[in-house]
């Protein structure tokens, strides 16, 4: 019964989407599109000077969305901490700590952090940036926490970094309010030389803050899913 109703609902919705809107949505010809994005593409190099347009949209043009997005992750990490706090019994170790696994993770760790940093810092030049970079850093951290006895998930440190990075983001944005521009997130630094690391004004700095924030938030979120409130316990 439930399935039939669901099927009917979905088919109805799908029918509506595809038949009534089909001709609208499916374009018959690829004409010139007039959109905000086209405007952005035209002016981006002169206005911002980042080689990767998506990054300049994410960080500057629609930077306020990104602030909200980082807040959503912050919220998720907060919620996971809150919900998982009451949980006392835990899974046993995920892996047996073999020598190879341990050594391998120690060897891998610095490279993953380095790689994550690289991706974050080059966000305005190549694809990538704060979000994937943050994920890589968090993953590197996890690998070492999961395999090693010595390194623990430091809740305090994680939330400290998280808060600090968030405040850096907002702080950099608020500087824009003091300038004659009087606009939040105003790009108050010079554009620099196009296609070099220190170009595009505040973008690399904000993306670094986003990367750190995303990395620590994901560490906090996934970590709380994995471990007890503070560190991994030995046995269930």
């Amino acid at each position: 019964m439930r399935k039939i109703v669901g099927l009917l609902l979905i088919f109805g919705f799908g029918f509506y989407l595809v038949t009534i809107i089909g001709p609208v949505v499916f374009p018959s010809s690829t004409g010139e599109k007039a959109s905000v994005g086209v405007e952005v593409l035209k002016n981006e190099v002169a206005e911002v000077g980042a080689a990767n347009t998506v990054t300049s949209v994410v960080v500057l043009y629609r930077g306020f969305d990104t602030l909200g997005e980082v807040t959503v992750l912050f919220l998720a990490a907060l919620g996971l901490t809150l919900l998982m706090k009451g949980e006392k019994h835990l899974q046993a170790k995920l892996f047996d700590e073999s020598f190879i696994l341990k050594t391998g993770s120690y060897l891998l760790f610095p490279f993953m952090i380095l790689f994550g940093m690289y991706i974050i810092v080059h966000g305005h030049l190549t694809p990538g940036g704060g979000f994937p970079g943050g994920v890589i850093i968090a993953t590197g951290y996890f690998i070492i926490v999961m395999t090693s006895d010595v390194v623990r998930l430091r809740e305090g440190l994680v939330s400290f970094l998280e808060g600090l990075a968030g405040l850096t983001f907002i702080g950099l944005g608020l500087v824009g309010l003091f300038k004659p521009a009087d606009s939040f997130l105003f790009n108050f630094l010079s554009k620099g030389t196009f296609n070099t690391l220190l170009s595009a004004g505040i973008i690399p700095f904000i993306y670094a803050a986003i990367g750190i924030k995303v990395g620590s938030e994901l560490t906090g979120a996934v970590g709380n899913m994995f471990f007890s409130p503070y560190g991994r316990q030995k046995d269930a």
């Binding site: 439930r2 399935k3 109703v5 669901g6 099927l7 609902l9 979905i10 919705f13 799908g14 989407l17 595809v18 949505v25 499916f26 374009p27 690829t30 599109k33 959109s35 905000v36 994005g37 086209v38 952005v40 593409l41 035209k42 981006e44 190099v45 080689a51 990767n52 347009t53 998506v54 300049s56 949209v57 994410v58 043009y61 629609r62 969305d65 990104t66 909200g68 997005e69 959503v72 992750l73 919220l75 998720a76 919620g79 996971l80 919900l83 998982m84 009451g86 949980e87 190549t126 694809p127 979000f131 196009f194 296609n195 995303v214 979120a221 996934v222 709380n224 899913m225």
Partner: protein
């Protein structure tokens, strides 16, 4: 013959079919499945479908990624960067919601010992 087929199988059509297919399948799972984790999987899939739809909104056939990696590239040869930025946001938001939902499900499981929607008192709707 080849020409007709090529027109029929245009990239835009395929993208839209993919996105609508994912959205509808995802919502179908949400409406019909009784397992909470499956429901969350369905939401996740619908989310992916919507993301494809948004990126498709900015896709211009034959154009390159909106990155000025070579000096010869002009803005007219690039796809629209704005939808891509929106999708970055939406992917991250989707992850946040999924993580939270799973945490809630795990906690609920510890309280009630069940993942079945129809067995948990308040979840019938």
């Amino acid at each position: 013959m080849h020409n007709i087929l090529a027109n029929l199988v245009s990239v835009e059509w395929i993208i839209y079919i993919a996105s609508f297919g994912l959205i509808l399948t995802g919502l179908f799972i949400v409406f019909t499945d009784k397992n909470l984790i499956k429901i969350i999987i369905g939401l996740d899939m619908a989310e992916t479908g919507v993301n494809i739809l948004i990126v498709a909104a900015g896709y211009i056939k034959g154009n390159t990624a909106p990155i000025f990696s070579k000096a010869s590239l002009t803005p007219a040869q690039m796809t629209d960067p704005v939808p891509q930025a929106l999708v970055l946001t939406s992917i991250v938001i989707g992850f946040g919601v999924t993580a939270l939902a799973l945490a809630l499900v795990v906690r609920l499981y510890q309280k009630t010992g069940s993942l079945d929607v129809s067995k948990i008192r308040g979840l019938k709707w």
